[in-house]
């Protein structure tokens, strides 16, 4: 009979139930979407902030990065230390391999570059443009400056790493000086032996030092400078967690942590733990966090997440209010029915059970629909804003379910209690 009453209530007053289910669906879908977006916004923004470039510089231990960056003379206290190119794929095997988004090695040399009309001393940078790598774990990735330097304004196309048909990219001001354009041949004069001729595939406009450099495939610089298989430094772009006290202490000295703290630190994507792990897999390497990028990322991520958290809480509160209002209203409407059931001898418990079950079933149906609508909505937000759909985490389901249950309960219990405290006589005589 319980189910008979329930079935009657659910199927024969569809309008009312549909209204509750609809509000429920709406509330739940928006809550799901918001929670989904909130939980994923960190990753998404982090991904976006990758356009600011590398947040880790990997250099040989004991080496100075100054010499290469500023050309302050070779041998001037700058020791000749290098990293091995064939060790680089190991970076994708560390604990946080998945967080290593992109990386690119560099090996520079000073050389005479001649174009069609002029020649000049310039920095020739060997690097990976869009290199295909086979990782020891069996996976493969494509990485290089094409992904790392997304802010470069490239006139023409990106050069190729292909050793059979090598091409080069040239900084806009250097190109201007040498009278080179896309498709022209540039010649790099070697100190000894034969020079190299490369086709210019694109002009770089970066607003920085790159405008005066020539970018060629890594192998060419290695060959011409006699440093086969070596690179000077590697820029790494990694997704990281904002730093906290633990991370700062670890950055000072990882050995000062207790074993438990160390585990926490090692298994969190702090920039310092990623740097530490890179140092573990690449021999004689020192991974230096680029604070400009790392610190700013942390600040912006935190602000964004805090903002989204606030908005999500607001959103949840609003949907809770809307749902509980409606549930209260729909229970209150049934005062006559509840009075009658009491007059017929139903106990308060039996009535509460009946109404709660009825509302819960409706809410569940609405909530299920809402959940899936919310998934779609989150995807929509993700695609509109970030161009990739937001992956709603599994954690959202229990949160939303508990929330919806709690709200429905909170909305119906006071109303039911109030109605049960009414004496049937008062309700039935319409007073």
């Amino acid at each position: 009979m319980f189910w008979l009453i329930l079935r009657g209530a659910l199927t024969r007053q569809r309008g009312k139930m549909a209204m509750i289910a609809l509000t429920m669906a709406l509330g739940v879908s928006l809550a799901t979407a918001m929670l989904g977006v909130m939980m994923d916004v960190g990753d998404k923004i982090n991904q976006e902030l990758k356009t600011y470039g590398a947040n880790l510089n990997v250099i040989p231990r004991g080496a100075s990065i100054l010499g290469d960056l500023y050309g302050v003379g070779e041998g001037n206290g700058v020791s000749d230390k290098y990293l091995a190119e064939d060790e680089l794929p190991r970076m994708k095997t560390i604990f946080w391999a998945f967080n290593i988004v992109d990386f690119a090695p560099y090996l520079e040399m000073q050389a005479f570059v001649s174009g069609l009309s002029a020649s000049s001393q310039a920095m020739v940078v060997g690097t990976w443009f869009d290199k295909h790598l086979d990782i020891p774990t069996g996976e493969s990735v494509d990485t290089g400056v094409k992904k790392m330097k997304s802010w470069w304004d490239v006139d023409g196309s990106w050069a190729s790493d292909d050793p059979d048909s090598p091409s080069a990219m040239i900084g806009a001001s250097l190109a201007n000086e040498l009278g080179l354009g896309v498709g022209d041949m540039a010649t790099i004069d070697a100190k000894q032996g034969e020079g190299k001729k490369l086709t210019i595939s694109g002009l770089i406009n970066s607003g920085g030092d790159e405008d005066r450099q020539l970018f060629v495939p890594l192998a060419i610089v290695q060959e011409m400078s006699g440093r086969a298989g070596l690179v000077r430094r590697v820029e790494v772009s990694a997704l990281t967690t904002p730093e906290n006290d633990l991370a700062r202490r670890a950055a000072q000295d990882p050995e000062s942590l207790s074993p438990a703290e160390r585990d926490t630190w090692y298994c969190t994507a702090y920039i310092s733990s990623i740097a530490y792990q890179i140092e573990e897999v690449i021999s004689d390497a020192r991974a230096k966090p680029v604070l400009r990028v790392a610190e700013s990322e942390g600040a912006i991520l935190q602000k964004t997440q805090l903002l989204m958290l606030l908005l999500t809480v607001l959103c949840l509160a609003c949907s809770a209010l809307a749902i509980s209002n409606l549930v209260t209203a729909s229970v209150m409407e049934r005062s006559a029915e509840i009075g009658l059931l009491k007059a017929l001898g139903a106990t308060g418990l039996a009535i509460s059970l009946l109404i709660m079950t009825e509302i819960m079933i409706t809410a569940f149906a609405g909530g299920a629909v809402g959940y899936f609508a919310g998934l779609g909505f989150a995807r929509f937000i993700g695609r509109t804003v970030f161009g990739t759909p937001v992956a709603v985490k599994g954690l959202v389901i229990p949160i939303v379910a508990i929330l919806a249950m709690a709200v429905t309960f909170a909305g119906s219990i006071p109303a039911i209690r109030m109605l049960l405290s009414l004496r049937p006589a008062e309700v039935l005589h319409g007073r």
Partner: protein
């Protein structure tokens, strides 16, 4: 044997004495009508007899049990077991069929029995309307469903509050006919009404005025005989 005894029952709401020192006995199988102008205490009395309210003072004994000592949940149990309620506004559950509305009373009383519920509808002449929803029934038919629901659990006492208040002449006749038949079958009936025609059908009419019993009139038995002669 007395099914109901009221001894010095008073109901006082603040300054207002809705009922004052009312004593009344109802015998088993008796048909009693309670009449009186608005505000005379009819509804209060009905609520007290129907276990939906407790008097401020005095004792109510229903079927040998003193109601004034019971707590609300015991009162609910008594109401369920001993009393069949008929309302002026029918109070049927809108989303349940006539049959299911009768079965709800069975459900809260003990256990459901569809055949028995159909039988009850048959007794009020509604067997063919069992699967209809209240909104598909006329006022008279709804009241008959309400009566079927009231008698499904074989109550010691049938309590009707203005059972014909919302009905036209024809339906009033039908409902009174059913009450008569129930009376003839031995049910104890108390009808609260202000319709003299309904009151006349009872064996005894209690007149309430200002919360007191003003008069008790025994109706001519010929009515009773004449109509229940079959």
């Amino acid at each position: 044997m007395n099914i109901l005894e009221l001894n010095g029952v008073s109901m006082i709401y603040g300054q207002v004495k809705a009922l004052y020192e009312v004593s009344l006995t109802v015998e088993k199988g008796e048909w009693l009508a309670i009449m009186g102008p608005s505000g005379s205490g009819k509804t209060t009395m009905m609520n007290i007899i129907g276990c939906m309210d407790k008097p401020s003072s005095g004792s109510v004994v229903l079927d040998g049990q003193d109601l004034s000592r019971l707590n609300p949940s015991d009162l609910t149990a008594i109401r369920r077991d001993k009393i069949g309620l008929i309302f002026q506004q029918f109070h049927l559950i809108s989303y349940l069929t006539a049959l299911e509305n009768v079965m709800v009373a069975q459900y809260y009383h003990s256990m459901i029995d569809e055949d028995e519920a159909l039988g009850a509808l048959d007794r009020v002449g509604l067997a063919d309307r069992a699967k209809h929803l209240p909104r598909q029934l006329s006022g008279g038919e709804q009241q008959r469903v309400c009566i079927a629901r009231a008698l499904i659990n074989y109550p010691s006492l049938i309590l009707a509050d203005e059972p014909t208040g919302n009905l036209d002449e024809t339906n009033e006749r039908v409902v009174i006919g059913i009450l008569k038949r129930l009376h003839a079958e031995g049910s104890t009936i108390i009808v609260v009404t202000h319709d003299p025609e309904v009151a006349e059908e009872a064996e005894k009419t209690v007149f309430l005025e200002h919360g007191r019993i003003a008069n008790i009139v025994k109706n001519a038995p010929c009515h009773d005989l004449a109509s229940s002669g079959n």
